[in-house]
């Protein structure tokens, strides 16, 4: 992939996606929650509606934040990134997630 073919903003999107997703998950924050029992979306926490699904909100937040940042980063700056980071950063995210999720198995 030469310089003209390379799309560093796409690589930035993929790198940031996992970081934003994992941060939202770790902070237990989502822009919205889905309550499957009453089949309703809520911005606020409403425990009386039963168990909530935050996953949709985490994916939405990761998509939106990563896309905006990827578009805002100047191309010259983005091109300094080595292509290897495109898989190293997601791999680190996966490893961190697995370490955190050990809590289910102890």
């Amino acid at each position: 992939m030469n310089a003209s073919q390379r799309r560093p903003s796409v690589e930035i999107f993929s790198m940031l996606f996992g970081i934003v997703y994992l941060t939202c998950f770790y902070m237990d924050w989502a822009p919205f929650r889905y309550y499957p029992d009453p089949r309703r979306f809520h911005i606020n926490v409403t425990p009386q509606d039963g168990p909530a699904i935050l996953w949709y909100g985490w994916v939405t937040a990761a998509t939106a934040v990563s896309a905006v940042v990827a578009l805002l980063v100047p191309r010259l700056l983005a091109e300094r990134l080595r292509p290897g980071w495109a898989w190293i950063v997601p791999l680190i995210i996966v490893i961190l997630m697995l370490i955190y999720e050990r809590r289910w198995f102890v």
Binding site: M1, E11, S14, Y34, W55, A86, L91, R103, W104, F105
Partner: protein
Amino acid sequence: MIVALLIVHGLLAVALLGAITHQAWSVVPRRGGAGSLSFAERFRSVDSSAYATAIVVLFVVTAIGGALLYPQYRLDVRTALEDLQLRSANGVFEIKEHLVAIGLGLLPTYWLFWKTHLAPEQTAARRYLTWLLAFIVWWSFLVGHVLNNIKGLLP
């Protein structure tokens, strides 16, 4: 309706698993000479780049299917697992949902690396991206099927 969706989700996952496994195997560096007719060699001797778009589409469609099934899982299956005190079963599913999300984020870069002409030093990045995606698909497939059949698997 939910059963039909679950079956379609499972079938799409099988197609995705086959495609990503072919591709992941095809990028393993070769050691022996070319021309071997072993099963493994034939399995890997595919046009790897032809799989990329199909894998992206299958991954997204399968993930959407999983997202549609998720509310039912959250209400029925997860509650049952909690009642049975199967913490590890809940844990492997939690990992599955995180892996699928991370995989969704990887797809644009994965596709770009397969669809543009790479410099030789960038093929390693493409290989590791493919293997990471293959790990995500294999984990999701196995966990999905084990949890779907967990009542039959328990003594």
